[in-house]
């Protein structure tokens, strides 16, 4: 029996009504292998004391990630904290575009640029803006596509942000709950494969 606090069970990000009523990935945790359970459950409780991002960067990173993922209500998947764990330990993808700095430095630079844009347009940092103002700043960057944003190619900045944000968010059991995805599958496997076939622990989408 793996101990998981009740506050982590049966949740979806922002407590939205689920399209998969009653489905909770964590109900099956006793059928996961130990190696997998270890890495997945650690995502539920990353340290709130970040070690890579500075305080100013943290505020901007949290606002940016929550905005990219429409996380406007509690409980939130701690996306910025999960990214911080990666960057603090240097767990990057390794490669980077020749006209971009390595990932950690790219995060620092782009968060500062984001605050610059927010300050220039609205007189305050990105994290202090309203939802609509944040959307306007972010949309302007996406619209630049292959053009430069500050010194960097906007599409590659967009790729960096969305890659890290989606990797963190869609590795979290709460995000799997809202997708109907059962997560780890070893040694249990699947028995009912084929169109419209479900396992006893899968729930039909409503």
């Amino acid at each position: 029996m793996v101990f998981i606090a009740d506050s982590f069970r049966g949740r979806t990000p922002g407590s939205r009504p689920s399209r998969f009523p009653g489905f909770d990935v964590l109900d099956e945790v006793d059928r996961w292998d130990a190696a997998t359970a270890g890495v997945v459950l650690a995502r539920l409780t990353p340290s709130p004391e970040l070690s890579f991002f500075t305080g100013v960067e943290q505020a901007t990173a949290e606002a940016l990630c929550d905005h990219l993922l429409a996380q406007h209500d509690e409980p939130r998947v701690p996306v910025a904290a999960l990214i911080d764990v990666r960057l603090a330990t240097g767990e990057t993808d390794g490669w980077h575009y020749a006209d971009m700095p390595e990932d950690g430095e790219a995060w620092r630079q782009t968060l500062a640029f984001l605050d610059d844009d927010a300050t220039q347009r609205y007189g305050t940092v990105f994290g202090e803006l309203t939802k609509d103002q944040q959307a306007a700043v972010v949309q302007a960057i996406q619209n630049l596509k292959t053009q430069r944003w500050h010194a960097l190619p906007a599409n590659q900045v967009w790729s960096l942000w969305t890659r890290y944000a989606c990797t963190a968010f869609y590795s979290h059991p709460w995000a799997w709950n809202e997708m109907g995805f059962p997560g780890p599958a070893y040694p249990r496997g699947y028995k009912n494969i084929g169109l419209d076939k479900r396992e006893p622990f899968e729930v039909a989408q409503q």
Binding site: R19, W32, D33, A35, T36, V39, V40, R43, H67, L68, L69, A70, E91, T92, D93, G94, W95, H96, Y97, A98, D99, E102, A135, V138, Q142, T162, R163, C166, T167, A168, F169, Y170, S171, A175, W176, E178, M179, G180, F181, P182, G183, P184, A185, Y186, P187, R188, G189, Y190, K191, N192, I193, G194, L195, D196, K197, R198, E202, A204, Q205
Partner: protein, 557 residues
Amino acid sequence: MKVGAAMKVGASLSLYGDVRTRNDSAWLLPKAPGFPHQLRDDMRRYDETDEVDIVIVGCGAGGATLAQRLARAGWSVVAVDAGPFWDPETDWVSDERGSHSLYWTDPRLISGADPVPMGSNNSGRGVGGSMVHYAGYTPRFHPSDFATLSNDGVGADWPISYHDLRPYYEHIEHELPVAGQPWPWGDPHSYPFQAQPVSGNGDVFINGCERLGIPVRVGPVAIANGRFGNRPHCIYRGFCLQGCKVNAKASPLITHVPDALAHGAEIRAHSHVSSVLIDEHTGLATGVTYFKDGVERRQKARMVALAAYSIETPRLLLLSTSKRFKNGLCNDEGQVGHYVMVQGAPQTAGRFESEVRMYKGPPPEVSSEEFYETDPAAEYKRGFSIQNVSPLPITFAEHVIAQGHWGEALRDYMRDYVHWSSLGSLCELLPSYENGVTLASEADKHGLPVANFSYSMCDNDKQLIKAAQSKMEQILRAAGATETMTIQRFAHLVGGCRMATSAKDGVVDDHLRTFAVPNLYVTDGSVLLTQGSANPALTIMSLAARLADHLVGVSRG
């Protein structure tokens, strides 16, 4: 579950006997999951001053196959790998995000008009190489792939033909082993195991093709449909791309390394090779230097084989400078690092009324090579294949992001994940001298300059990718998709030290021996001249098996 009407049982299980005369790996594995620890504990260990018969750099498709063959023939073998010696049971997880350590994540730069992202998609690390996390598709090349210049006026002609490789394709298909329906394309052939049952994702592909009259087959997949030696049956877990914890999907870690160990090979993990040593007087390779635990060491050897793949093999040659080879080893003619190829690999997803739940069942299921050859009516030369792919949540989010969605729209698409099915194409992009690897000014943790991989597509490439995308959309629509979305991407890596008939056109000869150094060989995907629309793993292993036969033959006179 439904499979095409042509499904038949391939060759019978009596072929076990034949396999065991070449390779006993599946019977050396434990009956429970994991790696045979006793075999690893008892592994022969050479001293670095021992002059072994061969040191092999890299322990993936090319390196592990060569190590197994030569060890079995009685050679003293040390195979060195930069990454870990994996134990599937304790080191791998049934989780997308948690599988990061399977990829080569040392720094690399990517550039050119169409930079190719690396990492999970096309790089490996550790014993087993990138086959640890490949999907498991193991098609052969077509005979036409070996003469595209003569036949189509594009690409290059190989110094060997399909028939030189054919016996080795058959051997490796039995050793992995490969499951699939009898194959009608290229050189028609059957597979040792009958095809796996297919999931909802495979059903969609077969339905769409049947409605359009496009031939399609289940396989070829390197997962036995049944037990194989001590390897258990697949459990349809869907995490093939995260390393198979079950030991059902083939990778050299379980298909060749156990037999290599049993025949006295040493696998030296966590050892990053930094240069090939050359005797300035004889011009022969004398071994390698490598970093282990931060200390630079060396291993003496009578022969050296490089199997570090299309980025690291050229990088290692370029790093191995000496008085004789000022511009890098084997690089007098400026060929090292050039003609690196990737396949165009657009993936198209379709939304269906039914729940597809494409995460269930192995991602490799069904393929069609109907569009593999040059279509005389088309504007472009060469072709593409189509295969099932089944992106897990993080990868599927990349598909949605690629449409420009974010925020609420991203979340909405993702909540609908169970209704989506997905196809991937492999498009034969043409080799170009300009595409390849140079050394960057940035250095890795050992202080060695890292690779800069530059890649740009030509017009033929772009036309092919467009045609492939349109065909996938047609198939998904025919199967009932109400919406489709496509992500543009690349897959696989080959070339960079290509085979040739003379030193001015390549780095190695038709037996993979470097033109410049008589006892230095390259035995990985970097020797390929063209890539077809086939996943390269089977061809790389078959080339290594052919090289081993040649070396053993020469040594026995």
